[in-house]
Structures are given as structure tokens and as C-alpha cells.
Symmetry: C2
Subunit: 424 residues, 2 copies
Amino acid sequence: MKKYTEMTMDELKQELESVKSEYGKIKEMGLNLNIARGKPGKEQLDLVSDIFDILPSTSDFMVGPDDVRNYGVMSGIEPAKVLFADILGTKPENIFVGGNASLQLMYDTIAKAYTHGMLHSDKPWGKLDKVKWICPVPGYDRHFSICQSFGMETINVPMGETGPDMDMVEELIKDPQVKGMWNVPKYSNPDGIIYSAETLERIAGMKPAAKDFLLMWDNAYVIHEFDGDYVPFPDILSLCEKAGNPDMVFEYASTSKVTLPGAGVAVFACSKANMEYMESLITIQAISFDKTNQLRHAIYLKDKAHTLELMKKHAGILGPKFKTVLNTLEKEIEPLGIATWQKPKGGYFVSINCLPGTAKETWRLCKEAGLVMTGAGATYPGGNDPEDSNLRIAPSLPAPEVVEQAMKVFCVCLKHAALEKLMK
Amino acid sequence: MKKYTEMTMDELKQELESVKSEYGKIKEMGLNLNIARGKPGKEQLDLVSDIFDILPSTSDFMVGPDDVRNYGVMSGIEPAKVLFADILGTKPENIFVGGNASLQLMYDTIAKAYTHGMLHSDKPWGKLDKVKWICPVPGYDRHFSICQSFGMETINVPMGETGPDMDMVEELIKDPQVKGMWNVPKYSNPDGIIYSAETLERIAGMKPAAKDFLLMWDNAYVIHEFDGDYVPFPDILSLCEKAGNPDMVFEYASTSKVTLPGAGVAVFACSKANMEYMESLITIQAISFDKTNQLRHAIYLKDKAHTLELMKKHAGILGPKFKTVLNTLEKEIEPLGIATWQKPKGGYFVSINCLPGTAKETWRLCKEAGLVMTGAGATYPGGNDPEDSNLRIAPSLPAPEVVEQAMKVFCVCLKHAALEKLMK
């Protein structure tokens, strides 16, 4: 197949005829497909639902002197801290075990920066005229929504194959109004990029003008390989500490995609000084989180090694879906020169960079043909993708045959939009 | 027995000798007793731990089209909304089902007022020079800690037998800087007072100068009778709506003392307009709370009638402990004229008003004798009881025989402090 970008106008016209005919047939099928959100599929949920057999049979509810059913033990039970410390490569005393969602913990950290200030803040951010924030793009829409909700000025920094453009980041942090930065360092959402050792070192060694700079480290996919073995990843807390920045980073993780998204356990990890400060604030807000669920998880997941075995089972379900996505793209799109993408081995997404000015149109064509995708632009702050070129594919929720059909529809729509663009 | 307040100096001296001797004997016993916090006892926790048998055996995890194990359904599953609406006397659409603790929901409402403002705010409270807050006293220490944490100026309003002094409240709300008010309207913490119908009407009909006035309605003990039948209590949302103040009130409740403090379900209730506004903010913060726990609770508690049956069983455990407290006070203290207290039939506390200037000393004497009580002053904002006269007794956690012993110690210490005060 000839690349679209090298076709003559006549060839483009002829190809569009053919693609239009395919698209027409798809529309007639009256499909109703959805690859919009990174939700685990039913098979994955069923895989781990024996977690509900854990209590009370296996346990007597006591952890040391504490009854997990009662009030208290605000920062989480020790066995849950030990488990997450093992997974993240840090120490149990650096772990705060919260409720069921890391998003809530991330939001809460930023909310506290606004209402009370961070450990090294001169005053609450709510008293500042302006807060600027570094957003590697494409990125996670819910991160960016938090920035918007708090009225931050967001600054796009492009992601490359080794992580965010660090030259640009190092320049930006000279501005004291730049107060923080989002990161999904392993299997980034949506590209599936793993930050390189050099990127990690440069990030940990940053010298931001803002002394209360908040490095938000959303390690959502820390053990989430769907293809191949677990890839070790350095502990950012140690790296920051070594670089003289112990209090710069807050790390987040959860079992949302290990056990259950609706009923998992989430944590944040930070330095000892940050932990003392955050606990002094959180003790006003919470007596304790759901420790029965923490105990359930500690017993069910045991330790990192045992959790990695479980992740292999998830990979057994997820892997084929991602294979379908990547194989279809390789077969249908790669020869045409109309899009590029990473080939991730973990995470929950595949991110497509199509011809500038064709993402929205591809999305619209998909929608009209009965395929719902994450909104075009959603991977950029404000939903504003300046090139209109990024689209996110989330194949985890639907059954494999649905993913296959969805990818066929997607490829036809991508071609359709590209051809029309090239003919303008 | 003669009243201490009517004794001659000689009589006081003689009585003090006798009390000191009793106190000395108690100290020698090396006791280690605690009646400080409103935690349910082990027998209560055991009573409801069959709630963990509910999932997955009884349920297939589906509520309508939604799998409770997955992401989504942010405001809570319908069966949980129906249950809480039944208990609170409101409509399911007025209910937001959150995580495991109403304290977190209350904190979050106030945090959102500071970061984003309430529905009728001109700007976030974080941008205001001053926020003042009405605190009925004595009250709940964790409420007051929230005020302190956010730097509010707190204003004490005395509680009477029918609720807070409403003449004073109506005067205070003329000040537009007065932005809200705490309430525990049924079995107030710590007095156990139930707001009267007239108080409720005056509160619902308030016309605060602040159009974003926040009536915080912590209905923590709405079905928590420990002596006698359930006492019906009006729905504050309807009362506020009828009075033309539909958006003034946020109500809170939880199952912390119905099922489990560490693993219950909490809700807030508010008007439709408030709900839309809050959901528009919370959707940035949370994808969903733990819906498996919501389902567990909806199945386990069924409805209000069935929940009230369970509360009778709790009362069977709690009632005797409170009886011990009240009987001991009646026998040992009432004749002496050195303290007054309400005789609550529900809630989790008994609140003692002893002679001005003797609360701290009583507390100190108790502590020295091995009895830990809620700190003297804790029932006032900033821990500052201007009369130094209020003490809170929380008899729920210890075994009945411990409560009996604790009350003996307490009464001796109370007498000791009173005698010394009267002899000055």
C-alpha cells in the first residue's frame, strides 16, 4: 500500500471512495461500542472477587492492639503500609493509606495546598494571584481537570520517548509561580511511555524557584505490565532525597487496577517531614479510612511478588486486547503514514498521533458509526489539543471481539479523516 | 447528705479528708481506664460483623446496569440513597453517598467553600479577610477543630434544653461575615439535647446576611436511642425549603454507630440546586466511592424499620452503660449541688457541668488516678471553656464493669475538686 502522504490527488480521491463505502457499511450495522475509559473488564473483576471471602473468616479483625472495625489508626494499618512500600520500593513509614481512590488523594493534596499551603509554603495558594502548573502532554484528563477546577494556568510540555521535555521543564521552573507538575512516570497515560533513568535524575534534581514546588507522581501503572515481565522502576522518593529534594515529591498508587476500581485501596507516599505535616492536617479531616478493606487487601495481595503473580493473570486478559489494538494499527495504518504511536507493554492506553487537524473529525466519524472514544483533545489541558492530532484508545473494558470490531471502525474513520484532510 | 455549697468550712474540711482518703485508695489500685471517645464497644462491633457475609454470596454485584466493583456512579448507588432517604426523611435524589466517614464529608464541604465557594458565594472563602462561625457550646471538638484549621473566628452560643440560644443566633447572623453554624440537632454532642420544634423552626427560617450561609446539620445520632423507643425528628431539608431557605442547609449522617465506625457508609443531604453544584465540583475529585460497601449496607440494613430493630440491639448493649453513668451521678453527685447534667436517652455522651473552675482539676485528678477522659475544654472551640466547668463522659467503649469503676473514680475526683474550690 502506498502512503497517503505520497498519493496523487486522483489516488486520494479513489481511496476515499473506497473508504467511504466501507464506512457506509459500518454505519448500517448500527454498532454501539465503547473504548473511552480505562476501566477493567468483567473478567478482570471476576478474577479478584474472591477478595470478599477474606473477611471475617480468615481474620479476627485485630492488627496488633487495633480492631480494624473501629475508629482510629488514621494513616492506615501497618500490613497495608508494608505491602505498598514493597510495591513502590519505599519504606512503610513513608506510606499513608487512604480511601478507595488515588484521585481523591491527589485532589486533596492540591486542595490542602490551596487552603493551608504545603510544608514549605509561605501562605496558602488560595491567597496567591496566580498558580502555574506544568502539564506533560498528551496526559491524563482528570489531572488537567483538577488544574482547571482550581483556576491554575497550565503550561503544556511535550512528552517524548523518554518522558517530558526536560530542557523546557528546567526553564519553566525558574518562574516562582510555577508550583507543580503532573507525572505518570511508568506507562504514561495515554502514551504508555516509561520515563528514562536520565529523565528521572533530572526531575529529582530540579531546583524550582518555588520552594513549595509539588512534584505530583501518579504511579498508577507501577506493576501494570500487560506484555512481558515486570519492569523494575526506581523509587522517586529516594531519588529526590539523594538530590537534596526530599520534600518535593508526593507519589500516588492504588489497587484500582489490581483488585477493584470501585473498592480498592489507595495510598500516597512522601518524605517524613511531609508526612508529619500532612497528618497534622488530615487529622482534622478524618478519624480513619476503611481499615477492613485495607486488611482485606493486605491478606489478599500478601506482598509484591504475590501481587505480580496476580498482575500476570490480569495481563492474560488484557494482553490480547492490546495486541488486537497494536496489530490492527500496524496492519491498517502504519503503511499509510497518517499516524504514529508508541507500542506500550503496560498501562491502560494506546495513544494515537494522527495528522494535525484530523483528531476531532476522526472522533466525530467514530461516534456517528457507533464507537465512543475518549473525546478528542481530552488528553490536553482545557480539552485543547493545539494540533488537533491526539486520540486515546482504551481497550480494557470491552470483550476481545468488541475491541477487534472497534479497531476496524477506528481505522476506517482515521483513514477517512486523513484522506479528506490531505485533499483540502 | 448536705449540699457542699451549704457546708461550713469545717464540714468541707472534714469531707475533703474523707474524699482524699478514698482518692488515695483508688490511686493505689493502679487503674487504667478510658472513657474519652465515643467509640462503640467490641460487643457492638461483633453484633454487626455478619455484614461481611453479604458479598459476594448474596449479590451478583449488579445494581441496574452498573457493576458496583467498577468505576462510576459517583453520587452513590440508588439502594443506598433510598435507605438513607428513608432514615433521614428526605428524598433519594437529595442524598450523596460518600466514603466511610461523615467527618470527611463535612470537612470537604467547608474545604470547597474555601477553594471554590458555595452555590451562592460571590467568591471562595479563601479570598475573604475573615470568616466567622457560630459554635453552640458545649459541642463536638472535631467540629471546632475544622473551624480552627481554616482560621475561622468562632463565636460561642450557649446550648439550652431546647437547643442553641436562638435570640443570640438571630442577632449574630446579621453580620455578613458570619458564614455558618454547627449543629448536632438530635442528642447533641455532648449534652444529648434534642432541638425543640420551635428551635428547628427558627433555625430553618433564619435570614442570614451572608447569602452563602452554611447550616451544618450533623445528624450523627438520628436513630441512636439507647433508652426507649425511636424519637421521630423532622427533616431539616423540608423545613428549610418551606421557610424559603432550600440551599442553606447541608445534612450529614453515617452508619459509623449503626454498623462499623471503621467501615461504614456516610452521606450528605442537600437541595437539588446544591446537589448539582456539589456534584460539578466532586466530579473533579472522585470517580466513585466504595460501592461494594454501599451495596453491603443497603442489603444488610434493608430500610429504616429494619435498621431501627438493629439499633434496639445496640441499645441493649449501650443502655446499661449509660444507666450506670446516670445512676452513679444521681446517687453520688446530685445531692451535693456541685454539678448539673442532662439525662439523655440517646447519643453517645453525658455532659457534666461542674462548679466553675473545677473541670480541669477534676480531669487532672482522674488522669492521675488512671482514668482518661476527654480533655477538659475540648467541648469548646480552641479547647477554651471560659468557665472551666464542662466535662464529657463517653461510656460506650469499655465493658460495663469498667464503666462502673470509672464512674466511681470520676465522682471522687469531682468531689475532690469541688471541695478544694469551695474552700478557697
